[in-house]
């Protein structure tokens, strides 16, 4: 009797185990081939489909890195009427239609200009307020240069990012994710160029 009950109980256990295994297999089968893999899609533009910016342009730095000079050269090559003002103040932006922020923190650059990091942030905030007040277009360019990831550059990028009309950055840079996040959150157009030489096209597309 005992044995009989034991056998029945064992059979029931086996059936349950088989059912559970089947359940696990079914779950795996259903989830693996058919469920969509979640992936963050970052939509980037090759350039602006229509011009968004007007001349004259003020090119300034956000962090005093030398990357600003690259944008000055590109602007000159493209014959875009611009003023090169790495340490621009809000009071100097008379008649300016477009502000270009070239983001990149350089401790040496800040030091050479006799600024502190806090003063640099205040200067940028002043420019952004002026840009809003005068309805300027704001372009933000982040090249990244040879320097490794830097918290201050990230902070400056986020500071300018909220007021930006168009981001231009580099693919595979340390700041690609931040740019993508800012672009997505603010629904701001973003172009990621392959390399510095390729920035010229998207930059021109903002103007013509």
């Amino acid at each position: 009797m005992m044995e009989g009950w034991g056998t029945g109980h064992m059979k029931q256990k086996i059936v349950r185990i088989i059912l559970l295994i089947s359940l696990v297999i079914l779950l795996v089968l259903i989830n693996t081939p058919f469920a969509d893999r979640k992936e963050t899609k970052v939509f980037t533009l090759p350039g602006q489909p229509r011009p968004i910016a007007e001349m004259p342009v003020a090119i300034t730095s956000a962090g005093q890195s030398t990357d600003t000079y690259i944008i000055r050269d590109i602007t000159n090559q493209l014959m875009i009427r611009s003023y090169f003002m790495p340490q621009a103040r809000d009071s100097e932006l008379k008649d300016i239609k477009t502000m270009v922020f070239v983001v990149g923190y350089s401790s040496l650059g800040i030091k050479l200009q006799g600024l502190s990091y806090e003063e640099e942030k205040l200067r940028i905030k002043g420019l952004l307020e002026k840009a809003v007040e005068c309805d300027m277009t704001v372009l933000t360019v982040l090249i990244g240069g040879e320097q490794a990831y830097d918290n201050k550059t990230e902070e400056l990028l986020r500071l300018v990012g909220g007021h930006t009309d168009y981001f231009i950055g580099l693919k595979d840079s340390d700041y690609e994710n931040t740019l993508a996040e800012l672009a997505k959150d603010g629904d701001i157009p973003l172009t990621l160029a392959n390399e510095v030489n390729d920035i010229s096209g998207p930059f021109a597309s903002a103007f013509r």
Binding site: G8, Q12, V15, R16, L19, S22, L23, L26, L27, I30, N31, T32, P33, F34, A35, D36, R37, E39, K41, F43, L45, P46, G47, P49, R50, P51, Q77, L78, M79, N194, E195, N197, D198, S200, G201, P202, A204, S205, R208
Partner: protein, 548 residues
């Protein structure tokens, strides 16, 4: 027993509920479709389907200017050198190295060894010379076809290519009669893909449907108007690619192409409508791609036919077209108004050109001055399917017709399939025609020489569809080709655009951003600025669902 059974039934029910819950992200019919599709596609997951608006015109790239032909042939035939990084870099391909003489007139290419064509024959210097002779020598027995691109680039047959000689089994020497700044860029164009000499001899006039090259894919079949299938070249010299098969499937309607992409029946869809951009962008299963505006769509006026041989008439038509409204109504704002024939970001662009303002009054006044106070009747030609520069050709033509009507020009629209269209345009049969150009490489020469040089206004071979002839422009074009000084070249092109803007041979309309999309499962696909990309690095990631 009953108790045990009910326990098991309960367990089964729970299992069923869990199973059902786990699949709740998919609707029932979607789930069924998934199962059916999964069964159908089992074992063929390495097959990529590209949905496109147009069929190819010819699979002999040397005899066509059609981009939808190059999109296929770039996977079959390879060139001596290749353009990378959006045309900014020239890298080795069938030639492993090269050098150029100081005067820029002699080029020596060292070829790769150990490569075979798809028909098993050997790739070597003799094969390259055979191809060049076929392209450049009108008396060559295999010079059958138009070879328009050779004419556009090299200025005739043989043009300024003096000789091409095999100096050893794997070295060739090309002598030019004058230097040509973008020579390597030109050789990197898919149009100069090297075909097997045996296949050229074997197929003769039918070569256009029997391409045999050295590339990553081998031509399998072509059902005209429907589909072209390529299969993997297992003996590819760079190593076998991941895809086993590629199908280029013609789906003329943009809506149908997008729907098939959504359903997972195609993996990549081109020439999508600008108005679908938002939908594609937020579709969780699709990637949206926009190509850079590396093109120009224009209204060609045949300057050899009256009344378009009168400058005032051409100016009137330039003033009659409201480009801003055209872009808003037809291009969904995904285009820029064109003031000239090169894209605004290309070096050499003249940003100081004064665009012709939209002014029907001025247009009517100019027509009256030209002797047409009551306007005139004409024909406006257009192609039957989307192109990069005209995603909605019919709507563009209708818009232009309405604009012209306002200045008393009665234009009757005539539609042609692309093959016939190009042939007729090459022959200069049109009066007004909507056409465009997508750049092959980042040099203004590629746009301006092709579209404006008198050399390219030859009947039967024309790329200058305005049939515009200007000695000054020809001189500037020639000068710019022969110098490598970028500052000088830039200034020559800027001056040239001023002359052309004054003469107004045609109406530059738009620089568009062509729209295309792929399934998330497609990896390694990078749309190129020039509109043509090899699929050799593309693969399908099987862990993604390709069915809705």
């Amino acid at each position: 027993m009953k108790k045990k059974n009910s326990k098991n039934i309960l367990l089964l029910l729970i299992s069923a509920i869990i199973v059902f819950m786990s699949g709740c992200t998919m609707e029932a019919n979607s789930f069924e479709r998934s199962l059916v599709n999964a069964a159908n596609t089992a074992g063929s997951v390495k097959r990529l389907v590209v949905g496109r608006a147009n069929d190819s015109v010819s699979l002999d790239p040397s005899c066509t200017t059609d981009m939808d032909s190059m999109k296929v042939t770039v996977n079959i035939l390879e060139t001596l050198v290749k353009s990378e990084n959006e045309g900014n870099e020239i890298v080795p391909c069938l030639a492993e190295s090269w050098k150029c003489s100081d005067d820029g007139m002699t080029w020596v290419f060292k070829l790769r060894q150990g490569i075979r064509f798809h028909d098993g024959t050997v790739f070597n210097a003799q094969a390259v010379v055979f191809n060049f002779n076929r392209w450049m020598d009108v008396n060559n027995e295999y010079h059958i076809g138009s070879f328009s691109y050779w004419n556009y680039i090299f200025g005739g047959f043989p043009g300024f290519v003096k000789s091409v000689t095999a100096t050893s089994d794997y070295t060739i020497e090309i002598k030019l009669s004058k230097p040509y700044a973008p020579f390597l860029n030109a050789l990197a164009m898919p149009v100069f893909g090297i075909a097997s000499p045996d296949s050229i001899a074997k197929y003769g006039r039918d070569l256009y449907e029997h391409p045999v090259g050295t590339g990553p894919f081998i031509f399998k079949s072509w059902e005209h108007g429907k589909s072209i299938v390529l299969i993997r070249n297992d003996r590819y010299w760079k190593g076998s690619v991941k895809l086993e098969e590629v199908e280029f499937k013609v789906i003329p309607s943009s809506k149908d192409r997008l729907e098939e992409l959504r359903q997972g029946y195609v993996h990549i869809a081109d020439h999508l409508s600008p108005e679908d951009v938002a939908d594609i962008k937020y579709d969780p299963n699709l990637y949206l791609y926009l190509r850079p505006s590396f093109n120009v769509g224009y209204l060609a006026m045949n300057n050899e036919k009256a009344p378009f041989n009168t400058r005032e008439v051409r100016l009137a038509i330039n003033h009659a077209i409201d480009k801003e409204k055209l872009i808003n109504d037809v291009f969904d704002n995904l285009a820029k108004p064109a003031n000239t024939y090169i894209p605004p970001f290309l070096w050499g662009y003249n940003e100081n050109l004064e665009p012709y303002e939209y002014s029907p009054d001025k247009a009517r006044q100019l027509l009256a001055e030209a002797g047409f106070p009551n306007g005139f009747k004409t024909t406006l030609w257009v192609m039957d399917a989307a192109r990069d520069y005209f995603p909605k050709p019919w709507e563009t033509a209708e818009f232009i017709r309405e604009n012209l009507k306002k200045v008393n020009i009665d234009a009757e629209i005539k539609v042609f399939n692309m093959n016939e269209y190009l042939t007729r345009l090459h022959n200069g049969e049109h009066e007004l025609a909507l056409i465009g150009w997508t750049g092959d490489y980042t040099d203004p020469d590629n746009f301006l020489y092709t579209l404006l040089a008198s050399e390219n206004a030859k009947l039967g071979l024309a790329g200058n569809y305005s049939f515009y002839r200007s000695k000054e422009v020809d001189q500037l074009l020639a000068q710019a080709r022969q110098t490598t000084n970028m500052v000088f070249r830039r200034s020559l092109y800027r001056s040239l655009q001023e002359i052309v803007n004054y003469d107004a041979p045609s109406v530059p309309l738009v620089h568009t951003m062509p729209v295309l999309a792929s399934r998330l499962s497609v990896k390694g696909y990078t749309p190129q600025m020039a509109g043509v990309e090899s699929l050799e690095n593309v693969y399908i990631d099987n862990s993604y669902v390709d069915i809705e």
